[in-house]
Symmetry: C3
Subunit: 432 residues, 3 copies
């Protein structure tokens, strides 16, 4: 691996570490702090605030939630569970409380996982007023009978929902949508990997000398954020978005995962499947029935966007999911880098994917153009075979991904061949 790539992996992990302690939720200052840190990466992210109660299709923007402090004190005055230690300790959207109660009264407000006794679970109650604390089951079992003081100094009141939007313009008004979410507290694969990898994709796109597509990159609270965003941009999204990706759970090292769009074979799906097929790694292929993130909204009937999801270990499938064990040991530099590279490959192919047409009838005479390698090796043989096959299928009906699928070659490896053949006038690029 190149020094540059190792550095990029490390930088991503560093950004994840910086974001990790922040208490993010659907709304609140954690989202604002997160977006501010992402802006510091040199990205011109515009930050939007949407007032609580604003309607969005079938939904309303919820009240804003902020937390000053939250803890449980035992009868001796020890803070045995404290939000400042780990923000997962507090049930998301907990209402304020300040009482001294018995263990029996406390128990219904406690959440733990008997099967994972060392994990603090991630629990929220966005649409039903509750308060609660999450803790390891091991700790819960040590709790004595007796009185406990529970303090939650939170504000749950009309405010606004915050999201970020970054438009990176290209030559065409046609857009690639990249959507990730910034509403999870201290967990790493789900979900710091998404915003971190998205940030580095944006930085990479920014520095390209030119772009064919315009990139619409959004940092949203999950579900309500994408619903609101779609409600505001439906017509233009439907008109412009040619492919899109929900970026989530993309930082561990275990596997790659693919979850199709509802329509199953859109441009986004085709490029993702092509890249993953030619990846020398394990890939788990899911069905749209396994969906669980914002593709639920982007692909819903009437929205119908060509949006799929390329992940590493998919939400809901790995043991650390939605617990404190989903941390920065699970998400690694290499894991993030692998996810980044796969999505970058998808974008790169999309930038160059078009239909090609051979310009001469019958096979061209490659020899007199020096397009046969002078030294023959297995690699060069493959290269020549790819070149001949590419010309054989360049009938103007298949795009580069389609040709790659047909001739069992990675379209990324066909790009330099295409360049040569276009230069030699043997291949014509679709004009439009």
């Amino acid at each position: 691996m190149s020094e540059e790539l190792i550095t990029k992996g490390a930088e991503m992990h560093r950004l994840a570490s910086q974001l990790y302690p922040i208490c993010r939720s659907l709304t609140g200052n954690g989202v604002r702090q997160t977006l501010a840190i992402l802006q510091q990466q040199g990205l011109d992210i515009s930050v939007h605030e949407v007032a609580s109660g604003t309607p969005a299709f079938d939904w309303y923007i919820p009240e804003e939630w902020n937390v000053d402090e939250a803890y449980i004190e035992d009868s001796k005055g020890n803070r045995i569970v404290d939000f400042t230690t780990h923000n997962l300790h507090l049930l998301g959207y907990s209402e304020p409380v300040n009482r001294t109660i018995s263990l029996a009264e406390l128990q219904p407000h406690l959440y733990s996982l008997p099967e994972q006794p060392d994990a603090i679970p991630y629990v929220t109650s966005y649409y039903h007023r509750r308060w609660g604390f999450c803790l390891t089951h091991r700790q819960r079992e040590t709790l004595d009978e007796g009185q406990y003081r529970v303090v939650i100094k939170s504000q749950l009141k009309p405010g606004s929902m915050t999201y970020g939007e970054l438009i990176i313009p290209g030559e065409s008004p046609d857009e690639i949508l990249i959507s990730t979410y910034v509403c999870h507290p201290s967990m790493a694969n789900n979900e710091l990997s998404g915003p971190v990898v998205t940030t580095f994709l944006a930085k990479w796109l920014n520095q390209l000398p030119s772009r064919r597509y315009t990139y619409r990159i959004v940092f949203l609270p999950e579900t309500i954020g994408s619903i609101y965003y779609i409600s505001q941009h439906l017509a233009s999204l439907k008109k412009n978005v040619k492919a899109g990706f929900v970026v989530t759970c993309i930082g561990d090292e275990r596997t790659y995962s693919y979850l199709p769009s509802r329509q199953e074979n859109t441009l986004a799906d085709r490029v993702a499947k092509h890249v993953l097929k030619h990846l020398d790694s394990e890939v788990d292929y899911y069905s749209y029935l396994d969906r669980g993130s914002d593709e639920r909204q982007y692909c819903s009937p009437g929205v119908d966007l060509p949006v799929c999801s390329v992940m590493r270990s998919k939400y809901g499938t790995y043991p650390e999911y939605h617990t404190s064990l989903d941390d920065l040991n699970l998400v690694t530099s290499d894991g993030l880098l692998g996810g980044f590279n796969v999505l970058k490959s998808c974008l790169l192919l999309l930038e160059h994917n078009t239909r090609y047409q051979a310009s001469v009838c019958c096979e061209p005479q490659l020899g007199r153009r020096g397009l046969y390698p002078t030294i023959s090796s297995k690699d060069s043989a493959n290269h020549v075979q790819d070149m001949m096959n590419l010309l054989a299928y360049a009938d103007g009906s298949l795009d580069l991904i389609g040709i790659g699928d047909k001739i069992n070659a990675y379209a990324g490896n066909l790009l330099p061949i295409v360049e040569k053949l276009v230069y030699e006038g043997l291949l014509l690029k679709e004009s439009s």
Copy 2:
């Protein structure tokens, strides 16, 4: 199983028992008696008579056949084979005879099955004049040399072919065709199960408060009956029939069977395959090349009706087929009930099968409508998942069966969900 269902199974078996002794053939009084008994079930079946010699496409209505008595008497005057004992003893469409002949002269007129020595075979000769007797091979082997008196008092002469037709009107002129046949003598699976199950389907349809489809239910002699019927109604059948079923061999307990229409994926095929897939029973799937009943006519080129066949043990595949062993022990209350239920499920789904369109963009907020169950169990989880999946695929392009196929859910189980969602205004039913 509910008391009501047990009763229905028993009633069907009782009706089969009542019809069993009658000697049915392509034509003759047996068919008339059978239709009269079916009318007594409260069905307004109209009975039609078609004169012998009437042309029907490439065919003519055959002469009418009736039998007064038929027996073989040995030299001692014992009736060793007698039509009154079992009507299979007489070869169908036997011409009259009254002779005393030697065993050697008799043998070419005897039919038995060496491999099934206790079975009386079912043999007919509709289009070639013959006479003959069928008997068990065991009995045949006991016949002594000597003289035998053979008496067949039958009439084979111009008369008419009889069939029954029942139209149960619905809101739409679109029709579901149900076709069964009433031309087999004392055999049970093939074929009393067909007319019996069809009769009970008709009774069930009759008592529905309303019907979307008009039901065209015909009780015909096989082959010549359906050919004649099609010849008389071709244009209207082609115009109106949206799905149809040949009902035959639907009373034993061994398996279920499906035989597609020639076009293989008509509405009838889709609903049948969907119901059978979600049945917790063995199903044998056949090809149209295995056809053998009236789908041969309904699906013939130029007729092209969407007619398939849902059966229990298919004709020609079970050992008792076309012998006296196909009796009311083979066909049971449970067997008939199973067949009835599968076809009823098909009709029920057809009644409710339409395209649905989600009415809101993005996922609706089910929580505030109380559409999430308050107590969570595995069943309720499936229910919620089915609801979400149904909404996710309700894009107006798939009908309910198609959605069920897509989301791996039985469309019958989706019906109550659809009802709730339509009531809540979250789902729109296709208007037309």
Copy 3:
């Protein structure tokens, strides 16, 4: 096998033997001699000459090459390698040379196969001026140090490229293209089998009382020949050719092979796959990615002809390929006859392949027309079943090959049934 067929196999092998010694190349007198011998088979092949330097799409006709003599003499004056012994000894398109050189100087001009020490390899250098000799590796290893006289009296200069064309007219201007090549020196499967089998197909077509299709049969130098031919006839080929076959490697006994057209399911592909499927022999199915002969030109983008290849052991796959071991022991009478028969079956099916429509609604009454066999056997049962199935699928949408595929019957076996049914008026042939 019939006497006639044994004779035909032997005649083909005799023709191959007659052609075997001739030194064929892309151009030169060997091609002219070959075409003259094929004309002697009673075929009205027109011989065309195309001047060197004539452009053809991206190519030019090369210079003409002829050889008077070529040999290597050792220091004792022995001709140790001699073109007159085997024309593979001379590298194809060798330029003239007449020198005495050391073994060290000679070695870069020698070609042999260490893995096949008894084979003389086939090597050419059409587009790069070179001289060289090919010999067995066993002989090469015996060469002593010392001086060698190398003599090649060849002419490599502007002349012309020769090809043959035979048009056998039919009732329709629609054409079947048969393309084979005449540019290989003394090798048998690749490539005398192609011109020999093609010659006998032409003879068979010639003697047919009538032909539906016009047959365009070309004997070309590979690659440049087909490129030139296409360049001269592109519009008419695209308009008229309904199916075509590249005939090559069709004379050994090991297997049959199929290589599809680029479009994969043209009429040519359908008939070839149908015939091969019903052949009681092993068949290797290749992909268009395995192409290697003139289908590369016929199927290239913009040419897009429906041309596939039916072979016995495919070029590049058998050990004797492109060596002196590919001789008349490898290619046999039986091998040639098998190849001939498969292609003849394809042509025969194409001649009779059309859409059929049952003329009566519902099943016809075959009995009264005597179309049921009077004696029943397994064969006759299959025959009746095929007849019923054929009628059941004769809806005017499927051609005979399509019906055969649908009913799992060889269309060749359906032809006599079709004839009977057409005669009886039960089946109508598509008029156009």
